[in-house]
Symmetry: D2
Subunit: 357 residues, 4 copies
Amino acid sequence: MGSFFGEKVRISVFGESHGTAMGVIIDGLPSGEEIDMNEVYVQMSRRAPGGDKTATPRKEADFPEVLSGMLNGKTTGAPLAAVIHNTNTRSSDYGNLLDSPRPGHADYTAYLKYSGFNDIRGGGHFSGRLTANIVFAGAVVRQILKRRGISIAAHIYSIGNVSDTAFDACGIDSELTDRLNKSKFALVNTECEQAMRDVVEAARLDSDSVGGIIECIIQGMPAGVGDPMFNGVENVLSAAMFGVPAVKGIEFGSGFSGTLKRGSQNNDEFYFDEKGIVRTYTNNHGGALGGITSGMPIVFRVAVKPTPSVSAEQKTVNLQTGENTTVIVKGRHDPCIVPRAVPVIEAAAAIAVINML
Amino acid sequence: MGSFFGEKVRISVFGESHGTAMGVIIDGLPSGEEIDMNEVYVQMSRRAPGGDKTATPRKEADFPEVLSGMLNGKTTGAPLAAVIHNTNTRSSDYGNLLDSPRPGHADYTAYLKYSGFNDIRGGGHFSGRLTANIVFAGAVVRQILKRRGISIAAHIYSIGNVSDTAFDACGIDSELTDRLNKSKFALVNTECEQAMRDVVEAARLDSDSVGGIIECIIQGMPAGVGDPMFNGVENVLSAAMFGVPAVKGIEFGSGFSGTLKRGSQNNDEFYFDEKGIVRTYTNNHGGALGGITSGMPIVFRVAVKPTPSVSAEQKTVNLQTGENTTVIVKGRHDPCIVPRAVPVIEAAAAIAVINML
Amino acid sequence: MGSFFGEKVRISVFGESHGTAMGVIIDGLPSGEEIDMNEVYVQMSRRAPGGDKTATPRKEADFPEVLSGMLNGKTTGAPLAAVIHNTNTRSSDYGNLLDSPRPGHADYTAYLKYSGFNDIRGGGHFSGRLTANIVFAGAVVRQILKRRGISIAAHIYSIGNVSDTAFDACGIDSELTDRLNKSKFALVNTECEQAMRDVVEAARLDSDSVGGIIECIIQGMPAGVGDPMFNGVENVLSAAMFGVPAVKGIEFGSGFSGTLKRGSQNNDEFYFDEKGIVRTYTNNHGGALGGITSGMPIVFRVAVKPTPSVSAEQKTVNLQTGENTTVIVKGRHDPCIVPRAVPVIEAAAAIAVINML
Amino acid sequence: MGSFFGEKVRISVFGESHGTAMGVIIDGLPSGEEIDMNEVYVQMSRRAPGGDKTATPRKEADFPEVLSGMLNGKTTGAPLAAVIHNTNTRSSDYGNLLDSPRPGHADYTAYLKYSGFNDIRGGGHFSGRLTANIVFAGAVVRQILKRRGISIAAHIYSIGNVSDTAFDACGIDSELTDRLNKSKFALVNTECEQAMRDVVEAARLDSDSVGGIIECIIQGMPAGVGDPMFNGVENVLSAAMFGVPAVKGIEFGSGFSGTLKRGSQNNDEFYFDEKGIVRTYTNNHGGALGGITSGMPIVFRVAVKPTPSVSAEQKTVNLQTGENTTVIVKGRHDPCIVPRAVPVIEAAAAIAVINML
């Protein structure tokens, strides 16, 4: 059991890649919140495959149907449930995957856990497709957070060895936030785009894939939020982030590079700003000290591993015969999911944040 | 609320640095488990300040008193509770901290959250001293895990820019595990010790501090453990790790550096070993795919920020007067907590692991 | 937030009486479990309104559609989600309820909690109709429990002042279990049926309603299950039972009447039966001592209040005008939900039980 | 695992009857709350054995020592921990209990669950003595609730077949509340006391015991609190109440007797009182509709079974030899715990209530 998150606003996700439908329940939303479904669709289209080239997702069917929890465009306070019906449930081409797990995928571990009864088609419940539900839930939650002055923005920090300009950890302006929140290839410095696309294209031509890093900033969180020890800002956010497939690392503020600094450099000195608000000159702490928000932006980066779907022949095992063998993963693969993962990270952050308020 | 962890075996920590006592309840342990208190003491002495130079902690008083949950050296199944009485509750020298929070510490955020009613002395509930309770709980749990074939070892991966040899991610032998589990300066390659100590000593002479990275390996976990999405191996371990003060990042397997690899390089190919067990040739996935254990070792690294306790004058605010001011943190500070944090990381890992079984 | 239950197998319910659809996610089921949907339908038809007279529910549409978690008739281990589409979403006749809450219903308290944004139609999320989801989930879970030797049966203990024969608390045979599990008017002594129906009919003729008591027995639970203090058998079962609308009391074993006994009478003496199994001669403890199962059947009774939907004019308030007023609840009402609540109680018991194993 | 309660304010209890010490952690209290320890002692003395005759408990040692979470008489926001040291740890007289479980006690079920490793002396973790921790925690919490206008009072509703006057379910005055909150034999109508004592004395002379019913009223709860379905007022309160040993039933409002009423009688009609507050003329619903508070007092009754400690020879089993045998429970027993259970019920109610706010 694990496809849910949150103690205050609970997200429960269901579905398998090639099943009848997938969806999500959001339990615990405040009532009376107006939800703009167009804005939800914008976020979902940022994540949708192929969405990079066009403003609309491939198919109307990818849009979720809200089954409960909304009335006249506003939340009722009852659990908000939405389903995304599946129009593509072909099950061909998966025969040998039942026997021969794909390296880097969850085929083998799911086989172990579910004794082979899991739906292997398209990765089943482990498919990246399931992140559409996270984006849906996040898009709903973000509108509620925005009304409370909280904004979340993420960008492609790097793809392979090509890096974007990092966020100013002490804060970004609303113009940049808005631009990133609409972008399908979210960058601070848009001049990096071509170099990044070149890296992706090179991988594609090799039938290979590349990973990257996504940086996320959460602004407007009240200071003094979060709990000490095991329920702090970092604990909750990291638990949410590792719910996004392919995320293999997370760091807050100066993170791993902070270990190369002296304490005197890494400490963030306090001051009263012109409005009398306590701020820090730098933000190496990433917005939380002792697990509790300081009022500075929460800044973190997550490592997204290169998509395991590659076309090369790879060594694997045949679980039926007990022999070593090889597997070739057919089909067209997305050589880099990092751009599409940006709205997923924002959404997962939103879900974590609403659980801290 | 947040000073507890776990859904199956619940750890609840209490205490403030200069309070009467601190302690921990471990609820949900199996009954009939023999606990060797000497081994518990070994682990606690690895964490104790000053313990680096000697085999015993400074004071007998640092040893915990078990109040319940043990009978005749074995667990009864009732909650196991232990307290560590405080022999050092002097409260001098903290007067101005009430007004002027120390940069990098939780003074300011705790002040916000608790409206100034928190016990500021020694950092109160946010003190690193509280990790003694985590080490105690972990030391108990590790003995239970060991009986089930699960071992946990960590080493100082780096201090500042000096690095130890990384673990072989596909597994380390029991000799190295045992050596590390007793060491107060745990290194794979002990020849790194002097260079690391030089970095620490240089910081100390500057009244400054340094951080580092700790690498941890968990071996013997059954394959097929963990849950998809929000309750996987990485979610649970990261939520535990960020419970350790000063941890600001975590990565599993190839982690952040994996983003520089192609998918074909980062994927770990499967094979049957000579015993017919499925293994991977490499372990870039760090032991979990889709949140579920693969049977390969769980390998992760955590970033430990440089201790914020430094002697230099630092800018801060006076929360009473509303003016910008400076603070000098008095007393002797540990210029590098990384060696002492190694057993804390191992302990937190043990607590996370027993909650996944 | 509260429309979910369970730490091991989590049930999440959504929906509003007159919304698009309602449904349930069951997260944490074991994989590879064959689920007989016909048996699920039998249970759902026992609960369905009007189902008392006929073997099939009114409309095919009342049957749930399984969206995920099943493949080839077996559980996949992924969250099992089902929806029940609503064919009857007329919203007439509810206008004045927005202003004037019906006595005995949740109209007023929901209005307070959700600031009037809740879907008032048909009681919204508080409608008894939502129990169809509990019955669905319970029917799935019961098949899994049955394979582990655990059976659950309930009967109408009383309607108004007419009582059925109580269960033999030391155990009932499988024949009675099977009969009750199929019955739409479940009685130990079927000769009580007419007297009970007379009570209901009398209430109906008065446009009034009657309540009753349901007794439930859970057999085959392993001994030694449950946790002390706040997570024992009674805690978990009662938390589940009060999730069923109209339940206002619960008692285990001799319960309230046990307070009239002496300790020497109420204590259940132990003996080894012919198979060497420890049993008690009587079962006043109701199957749990110290929160832990004894191996004897778990026996409890729940009080079901008379349905608040009555046709008489009742005093109420106008929340808009702030004046005292009256309300007449239109429509046909079920004068006694007790028979239909029997399968709901069994289902809720099953959901509680699987979370204790 | 189960010796904890609460999602917002978490109570974690530890200890065994004859162990070194027992205690409780309260995690999540608001900071800055002044706690009057004298008032805590008053509550604890109401529960203490022998306390019925005198204003102070038997021994100073029964008073808890606060180890953390308090500074200068106020809560710090850190977990509040207290221990009660045990001055009476004699372990004689329990030899044969290891083999021959006492009827009505948890000896047998604990033996099963903990494979005989549990501390059997005095009932170990299942001892009624552990309720001292609940009273401590409740006494702290009640002071916080009182500041928010919430009061809790309970009385002996009945002992055996002698009944006190029931509470006016629509509210009791502060004078009665205060009197009950100090009483060691809490009655609405104190003229019942002698008849109740006669019942108890008769049982004592027979070396037997009697049970009873406790009624509790919670006033001042804000309206609109609680969650639908599985996290409502009744779910949370009942889960807390069954954490009190010997409680075998609970009913809210008209409860079981409400099943004898018609809906038109059991419904509580609404009106605006002179202050413009919505109230009901009667309170058969017991303060919650749909799991959510209506603003009327929360009223419930719990059944307390007769103490299983009786002196008569009782049939039991010898778990070592596998033979049927008998047991005589030695020592002086409390023939009726109902008066002492009153403050425990109040305390458990307080713990439940603070988790709903």
